[in-house]
């Protein structure tokens, strides 16, 4: 999935050297960040960044998004990208599971789940079950089915995590993680780590209310800014 996020975050900034080409991968990504760090905006940006040729995206969240990036159809947002975005708001874990169960026959190209912390169960088993269900219901069918690329899955979790077991459990299911760290001046440091690849960093403006996109997608240098490891958030 990292491809959709990387598209939203922008290309590498100056001084970072060429980005090596890697095969398209579909590992699920967990977006982590404290309240107001722009998790929702980043997810929506990932859905819309591909423009007219972007993915058919499904955005799931426990409550309605106040505004879409760039005002939802304003300048900078391709209306055809908006047509490819479906927003749904399952209020409870049970409703979310039913949404996921219904995906199996026609999964989207990109599944975005915001507010993961509101759906996780109290136990490690409940937490793992939801993460596993996300992966299972978006898995492409086996040999009998029509071959298609696996959907990209991105889930966002607010930090600090609701319980000590949550991050260790979710790491089992989300090998790629994107950590958002607020910086002075309304900027957000973004650190995308994928297995087997060096982490990439950006510093950009993400509106915490879902408005505005990844403006100024400048790649951040190592060691800039404040806390940017998941461990610091427990």
């Amino acid at each position: 999935m990292a491809a959709a996020l990387e598209r939203a975050l922008g290309s590498a900034g100056p001084g970072t050297g060429p980005v090596p080409e890697v095969p398209e991968m579909s590992e699920p990504v967990l977006v982590l960040g404290p309240a107001g760090s722009g998790r929702t905006a980043l997810l929506l940006q990932a859905a819309l960044a591909g423009g007219a040729h972007g993915p058919r995206a499904l955005f799931l969240a426990p409550s309605a998004v106040p505004r879409l990036p760039n005002g939802g159809g304003g300048t900078g947002t391709d209306p055809r990208a908006l047509q490819r975005l479906e927003l749904r708001y399952p209020r409870s874990r049970g409703s979310l599971c039913r949404e996921l169960g219904a995906l199996s026959l026609r999964p989207p190209d990109l599944l975005l789940l915001d507010g993961l912390e509101q759906y996780l169960g109290a136990s490690p088993g409940g937490c793992a079950r939801l993460a596993a269900l996300l992966l299972e219901t978006t898995r492409p069918p086996g040999p009998r089915g029509r071959p298609r690329p696996p959907p990209q899955v991105v889930a966002a979790l607010r930090l600090p995590s609701p319980a000590p077991h949550v991050l260790p459990t979710l790491r089992r299911f989300f090998p790629a993680r994107c950590l958002l760290s607020p910086r002075p001046g309304g900027l957000v440091g973004v650190r995308l780590s994928r297995p087997g690849r060096p982490p990439r960093r950006w510093r950009l403006h993400l509106d915490p209310h879902g408005e505005g996109g990844g403006e100024g997608g400048e790649e951040e240098q190592e060691g800039e800014g404040g806390s940017d490891t998941e461990e610091e958030w427990g």
């Binding site: 199996s104 079950r129 898995r139 086996g142 009998r144 089915g145």
Partner: protein, 157 residues
């Protein structure tokens, strides 16, 4: 394919058939078990010892489950698949295809909470049944397969 860690996240190209990543040594062992079983209908003692060494105390109970033909591959017309394993208690547990997840209590405790086991015996039984061609097969409708996936969620409300 990139390979990394022991993370059970999905990997569609896994040699073991389930869409999950096992440590390379475990993948290799399962391949050898499959090859040996295809050639001789028997698993040599040294491979059984390797199984015990890598998977610890769940190896023998998993082999028992295979002997009892306890693993059923459930498939829908679209090709979606999951596994159901009949536990010794008579309870049916569901193992997912896309990642290492089992609905049994041991998975939650030994694998997730304590991290003392790589897998539970039911997931290992799925791997072994695949390697030894011992999976029962069951075709269900898409709706039935979804019901199995969501069964315990529905019970929990």
């Amino acid at each position: 394919m990139e390979s990394w860690s022991v993370s059970p996240a999905r990997d569609e190209s896994s040699a073991s058939g389930m869409g999950s990543t096992l440590p390379a040594v475990a993948e290799e062992l399962l391949k050898e078990i499959k090859k040996a079983f295809q050639e001789t209908s028997h698993v040599p003692d040294e491979l059984l010892l390797g199984l015990r060494f890598i998977f610890g105390p769940c190896a023998v109970p998993a082999l028992d489950l295979v002997d009892q033909c306890s693993v059923t591959q459930v498939t829908s017309p679209s090709g979606r698949t999951l596994y159901q394993v009949l536990g010794n208690s008579g309870k049916l547990y569901t193992c997912y295809s896309s990642c290492h997840f089992c609905t049994c209590p041991a998975f939650g405790f030994s694998v997730l909470q304590k991290s003392v086991s790589l897998l539970c015996k039911h997931i290992l039984a799925v791997y072994l049944s695949q390697a030894m061609g011992a999976c029962q097969e069951l075709t269900v409708s898409e709706e039935q397969l979804t019901s199995i996936l969501l069964a315990e969620e529905e019970e929990e409300g």
